[in-house]
Structures are given as C-alpha cells and as structure tokens.
C-alpha cells in the first residue's frame, strides 16, 4: 500500500495528465450527447449573452448590406400579397380543405454568432424555446438554405450550418429532378458537393440545386446554389458535382426559422411504414 502511494506521488503529474486527457477525449467522442444538454455550447446563457453584446457592435458595420437585403426581401414579400394576384372566377375553395391549411410557419431571427473557418461550423441565433423554436427546424435566409437547428435554450439556439462536415442535406437538381445528398468537404466556405446523382442524369453547369422536400425539415424548392463543376470519375456510377452556395456565410445577419406544422405526422407515418 505504501509503495502504491509512493508510486502515485512520484508519477502524479503523468497520472493526472492521463486522467484529464481521457476526460477531454471522452468529451470529444460523446460530442452529440453533450450537444443535446446544451450546457457546454454557445447557446448557453453566459456565452450567448457575450456574443449578443459583441454582435451589436459588429452588426453596425454591416448595416448597408443588411438594408439592401431587407429592402429586396420586402419587395419580394409585397409581390406575394393577396393584392398582387388577380382573382380568378373559376377557382373554388372549400373552407375546411386540408390542402389550404398552413403547412410551414416562418419565424425571423438574428444571427449573433457565426463561423466559417472550422470543419464543424455552427450559427447561434437570438431566439430560442420561448419563441417557439425547436431542434430539427430548418433555417433559411432570403438567399437560400442556411442550416438546421441543433440545440435550443430558453432564449438562444444553435444551428448546424450547411458548411459543416457533419450535415447532409437532401437536395435535387431543379431542372431534371434527380436527387442526391449535399455535403461539405471542409475547405471552401462557398462550395459544397452534391453526390449520388446517377451518371445517366443530364447535368449542366449553371443548373439550380434546391432542397428536395423529402425530409420534413425544409419545404421543397428552397435554393441551395448552382452547379459550378461536374466531374465523373472513371468507372464511377455517380457524378461528383461542385455547387456554388447561394448564401454568403461570411455575411449572414437575418434568417428565418421554418416550423413544419405536421412534421410529427409525417415522421410517424414513415416510421410505421418502415416497421411493417
């Protein structure tokens, strides 16, 4: 026993090192479990508050571009007002028709922290559970899809960004309708890769890439970017398509969080079918 204590005292530095290192590596490996607890993430009250204050200053420097974006979005929204449409006489609508139910609810939020220089990039928003935001909601800006809500605290939420190597988004080519998965390779914050498009598909440079709507997170047809380069390895049966993102992640200020009103219904139905 005495020898054991002597051993510990003699090598306490190395032993302590191994213990602490093991704890931190466990943190890395259990990453997802800890994300859910949101205690150690930037949506916690302390770090969220600091980012919020700093962002108030940084945002001032971007006011010009933000104003332009907002003006453009106003114009777009005005064009969608009922007054902008001609009433048609041969259009009938049942009051209780489920097709006319609102399917998606949009909530606007402000970006208070954002990164583009890591392999796992996250965005922090200034709204959280109290504003009706829940994990797994889609996030878009007026230029296209931004990411998916990962964690929420009462007043903040973190978003796993499109340029995060952990995120895969179901996307399709708008022209031909072929769908695949959109992934980031961790290098340039302006480009992502669209994989799993079969070689018999017709792909042209400049084609639009939009969300497929197969998951209940994003509605179909939200812009992601356009095709910049099409590559086909020898003997490969799938294209490797480089997509230029429509959203500039370096300059992101206001976003909208999409709530799907019947997403539980869709998920449960799909699960039931799978279990059969």
């Amino acid at each position: 026993m005495r020898n054991f204590i002597r051993f510990i005292v003699k090598y306490h530095f190395a032993i302590l090192f191994f213990i602490i290192e093991a704890v931190s590596l466990l943190l890395v490996l259990n990453y997802n479990a800890y994300q859910r607890s949101s205690f150690l993430s930037s949506s916690s009250a302390v770090s969220g508050g600091i980012f919020k204050r700093f962002n108030a200053g940084a945002e001032y420097l971007m006011l010009r571009e933000i104003n332009e974006d907002l003006a453009r979005e106003n114009a777009y929204l005005r064009s969608r007002m009922p007054e902008s449409f001609r009433a048609s006489r041969d259009y009938f609508n049942l009051v209780n028709d489920s097709a006319s139910m609102q399917e998606y609810i949009y909530r606007s939020a402000r970006v208070i922290n954002n990164s583009t220089n890591r392999r796992f990039n996250y965005i922090t928003l200034n709204k959280g559970r109290l504003n009706g935001i829940e994990p797994e909601m889609g996030v878009i800006s007026n230029k296209g899809a931004v990411g998916i809500v990962k964690n929420v605290s009462d007043n903040y939420s973190t978003v796993i960004s499109v340029i995060n190597t952990r995120l895969k988004i179901s996307a399709k080519l708008k022209e031909s309708g072929f769908f695949g998965s959109l992934e980031w390779d961790g290098t340039s914050y302006q480009h992502v890769y669209l994989l799993d498009i079969p070689r018999h598909a017709n792909v042209n440079v400049g084609d639009l890439v939009v969300t497929s709507g197969y998951s209940s997170i994003f509605p179909a047809g939200i812009l992601l970017g356009n095709v910049e380069d099409v590559a086909l390895d020898k003997g490969a049966s799938f294209y490797r398509i480089r997509v230029k993102l429509s959203v500039d992640f370096k300059n992101l200020a206001f976003v909208e969080v999409i709530g799907h009103t019947s997403s539980d219904e869709q998920i449960n139905l799909e699960k039931e079918t799978e279990d059969d």
Partner: protein, 172 residues
C-alpha cells in the same frame, strides 16, 4: 508568486476574449486559424506546480471550446501542451538555470530562447488540435498544411503580444 495572480487572471480573460471574439472569425484561404489563447499557458511562472498547470490548461481550453461548440477538442490539445511544458523548459534550460522571480517571457530570456521554447509548444498544440478535429489520417497533407500555416500565424501573434507586454515593463 501571489503578486502574479492579478496579471494572470487578466491574461486569462483577455486572451480568451481575443480568441473567441476576434481570432475565431479570421480565415485566410481556408487554412489559417491562429490560436493565441495558449500564450496564457506558455507564460505561466516556472514554479507553477504540475497539477495546477494541467488544470489551467484544461480550463482555458474548455472555455474556448464552450464558445466554439467543440467540447473537448481545445481542452485535450491544451492539456497535452501543458504536459509537455516542463520537459521543454528543462530541455532549453540555460547553463545557470532559471533565475527565481522571473517568468518564461521574451523580456527575461531573449528572443531566440523564447522562439525555440514557444515554437515547440505551439506546434505540439496545433498538431494535436487539428488531428483531433479531423479525427483521421485521411486528409493528412491538407491537415499538415493547416498545422504549419496556422502555427506560423500564431507564433507571429505571440511575438507581437510579447513585444507589447515588454514595452509596458520598460515604461514602468
């Protein structure tokens, strides 16, 4: 020893804030991410006991982790660097040993000693960090490039920070 306390508390807060508010937003060509916060560990006094060194390394890494949503990544790299620190210090010890009442900075031991000492620690930290981040050897070359370019940038920043604190001392 106690008289160092306010200075190091200030260093800890200052370097962490610089790191999470300014440097984490810097990106040059997708490869360069400077990490200045490790200067806090590098300049701790010679007499710092080993257990305290490891705990401080863990907590400073963890604080940066909390702000960048990467639990454990920076913490493990900084703990690794803190573990190496006593050995690197012993390796570069001058012939007449380290004087009591001094700390490992450029002001006391000169630029060439400080460069040798900090380059090794910075390289150790960045190598550990970037390989933990990628978690595979698949992108070995691009990771290697990131390590080297980021280390160069970090060392430049460390030198600039050291020059500033040196100027302050002479002014007193």
């Amino acid at each position: 020893m106690i008289s160092y306390l306010p200075r190091y508390i200030f260093n800890f807060i200052f370097f962490t804030l610089i790191q999470v508010l300014v440097l984490n937003n810097i990106q040059l060509s997708g490869y360069v991410n400077p990490y200045l916060y490790i200067l806090f560990i590098i300049t701790l006094p010679f007499e710092t006991p080993g257990w305290l060194l490891l705990l401080l390394g863990f907590s400073s890494g963890m604080v940066v982790d909390v702000f960048s949503d990467t639990p454990g990544m920076h913490a493990s790299a900084t703990v690794f660097m803190s573990y190496l620190r006593p050995y690197v210090l012993r390796l570069f010890a001058p012939r007449e040993e380290y004087q009591p009442g001094t700390i490992p900075t450029m002001g006391y031991y000169g630029i060439s000693w400080f460069l040798r000492y900090s380059v090794i620690l910075v390289l150790a930290h960045h190598t550990f960090l970037f390989f933990i981040e990628v978690f595979s050897l698949a992108h070995f070359f691009s990771t290697f490039l990131r390590i080297v370019s980021s280390s160069v940038f970090t060392i430049l920043l460390i030198l600039v920070a050291q020059l500033f604190s040196q100027g302050k001392k002479q002014g007193r």
